[in-house]
């Protein structure tokens, strides 16, 4: 009996070991498959166009070509990477700051002020999360043009108009996430501040805002990745050849302007990926955590 039990344990051990080896092999194969496209980008960034046309599968012969290709793409006036990087950074950072602060303020008022108006407003934000971009995008352009002409404000082809639009599209989900969190902040903390003579705005910015820190990770990561990689909204509001151009617009414009020079296209995608991958190396834990929590909420 006991020998039998031992045998089962032994069998389990052997089976476990086999499973583990299988898992190791599976992981390695999958990892190679997942990294292969990046490897292809890197290798073909260092080849000449003639080499790629001759045979698409191959290794770089001379790494000097890599530097030549990068210089060619970097100095390309159609791509204008540095300008696109600057515009993308400005638009993403300002949008994130405005969406986060304004949504936190709104969510706090909506939680602390239970009237039928605040309930109605919150329901509107929840309902708006279902609205796909496609159903508002055509009227948005004409409406922004009309409104901009009327107010003498450049809403199209400007940083400001795009950032304002990102506030509109991003706030519903952001308010929803903050709303769920603010509900769990004990009211007593705020009442204490109130009694100590703190103004209403002071209570929010000094007491509540710092407490929201854990949700900020979620909000910044979800909105940040979306805005940084977004293509359609910048295309419609900035135009494909305007003064202000984000990185996705620059990449698409660059690719469209070339008779498939794959080596240069690969360099342009490499440059476009670099900022976000560098950020990921440093903030991997927060980015993954933010994305997962955003999905689960």
């Amino acid at each position: 009996m006991s020998q039998n039990a031992l045998q089962i344990v032994g069998e389990n051990k052997a089976r476990q070991k086999r499973l583990r080896v299988l898992a190791e092999i599976g992981c390695i194969i999958l990892f190679i498959l997942f990294m292969l496209p990046f490897f292809i980008v890197l290798m073909n960034s260092a080849r000449t166009n003639a080499e790629i046309i001759n045979s698409a599968v191959g290794m770089p012969t001379d790494w000097h070509n890599f530097i030549d290709n990068v210089v060619a793409v970097w100095n390309n006036p159609t791509f204008n990477f540095l300008k696109a990087l600057k515009d993308s950074v400005i638009i993403t950072i300002l949008s994130l700051a405005i969406i986060s602060v304004c949504s936190a303020m709104a969510a706090w008022v909506l939680v602390r002020n239970k009237t039928k108006w605040s309930t109605f407003l919150f329901m509107m934000y929840v309902a708006a999360m279902v609205i796909p971009f496609q159903v508002v995008m055509f009227p948005l352009i004409t409406w922004f043009k009309t409104l901009g002409d009327f107010l003498h404000l450049p809403l199209l082809r400007s940083h400001g108009g795009l950032i304002f639009a990102y506030l509109g599209f991003g706030e519903s989900m952001t308010i929803f996430i903050f709303h769920g969190f603010v509900k769990n902040i004990p009211l007593e903390i705020e009442e204490a501040a109130d009694i100590d003579g703190c103004s209403r705005a002071g209570t929010f910015f000094r007491i509540v805002f710092p407490l929201l820190q854990p949700v900020f990770v979620t909000v910044l990561v979800l909105n940040g990745l979306w805005i940084w990689n977004d293509y359609l909204l910048p295309l419609l509001l900035l135009g494909s050849n305007g003064d202000v151009r984000t990185i996705p617009l620059a990449v698409q414009g660059f690719i469209g302007s070339f008779v498939k020079q794959w080596n240069l296209i690969m360099v342009s995608t490499l440059l476009a990926m670099l900022p976000i991958i560098i950020l990921y190396i440093f903030a991997q834990k927060y980015i993954v955590q933010g994305m997962v929590e955003g999905a689960v909420k």
Partner: protein, 305 residues
């Protein structure tokens, strides 16, 4: 004196609260509410995208789009793509989650690596995969003498949807994997160990313990991939731009043109703004139905618990 202080305090409170709501409410009205209402109205008019519409045409736009082979084809291809993609992404993501939560060496590196494609925008990775499908794979196929991949898979109407599913799975599976990983880590290790001691093999434990306990994560992931696949635009544009041409209802249509791309092209490529808007309204209605199903499923779960 005290009373006055109290009164001004209440007024200050009210003013602050209204001011706190102003930016978001203003942006909400200007960016969502007004364009949404205008959009619904324009879908019933002869709007040309430049001037305000000159006539209300009733349901004409809707009648036109439901007899438009390009739209019906785009709808069917989107449904096909969505079904295949939801299955592919979730199966791959679940298997990867099992792998990286096992005792394999370097599991943190694997987790981080599988997630990377998710950080990169659809335009950029669509362009990379266009190169892979158009140049690398055919060259590789010729090299090893494998005829199935010797010609480009994205210029063949029969394989182009599969190619898009491959790219989207590569992009999205790492993200869904992380949701499954979080769910698996929330399950008590003791339960799994107890079952193991009782002689349950690994697959039995996965089937009888892990999968039932992960029901919530499955619902979240399924709907996330469902809406995401249905709204797919960037990768579609950068990878295939709708091509190649296929025949449908006796008319040539774009074999891989999904709904979002079809809506955009209707308005800007074929200059039928009002019809494009009507298509967008249909697109919206489908997504509302999906969300309602999701909400009702979540509700029924709450009752169970």
């Amino acid at each position: 004196m005290v009373k006055q202080k109290f009164f001004s305090g209440r007024r200050e409170r009210k003013i602050t609260e209204v001011l706190f709501l102003v930016p978001t409410v203003l942006a909400f009205i200007m960016v969502i509410v007004i364009p949404f209402i205008i959009g619904i109205y324009y879908s019933f008019t002869n709007w040309d995208g430049v001037n305000p519409p000159s006539a209300v045409v009733g349901l004409n736009n809707y009648k036109n789009i439901f007899t438009d082979p390009a739209f019906l084809h785009a709808f069917l291809v989107t449904v096909e793509f969505t079904i295949l993609n939801v299955i592919a992404v979730n199966v791959v993501a679940f298997l990867m989650a099992l792998l990286v939560t096992s005792q394999v060496k370097g599991r943190n590196l694997y987790r981080a690596g599988f997630f990377v494609p998710n950080l990169i925008g659809g335009i950029v990775l669509g362009s990379i995969w266009q190169f892979i499908f158009a140049s690398i794979l055919p060259a590789f196929g010729k090299m090893i003498g494998w005829s199935a991949i010797s010609s480009s898979l994205i210029t063949n109407a029969n394989t182009v949807v599969g190619a898009m599913v491959t790219v989207n799975t590569w992009q999205y599976a790492g993200y869904i994997m992380m949701i499954y990983v979080a769910s698996i880590q929330g399950i008590s290790q003791q339960v799994m160990e107890a079952a193991s001691v009782d002689g349950a093999t690994y697959w039995v434990r996965v089937r009888k313990i892990l999968i039932p306990l992960m029901a919530n994560a499955f619902t979240i992931s399924l709907f996330l991939t469902l809406t995401n696949s249905f709204k797919m635009y960037d990768v579609n544009l950068a990878l295939t731009n709708g091509g190649p041409v296929a025949m449908f209802m006796g008319k040539p249509v774009q074999a891989s043109e999904l709904l979002a791309l079809n809506i955009y092209n209707t308005a800007f490529k074929y200059s039928k703004q009002a019809e494009g808007q009507a298509k967008a309204v249909i697109f919206f209605i489908v997504l509302v139905v999906v969300s309602l199903v999701q909400v009702s499923i979540n509700k029924s779960k709450e009752v169970e618990m």
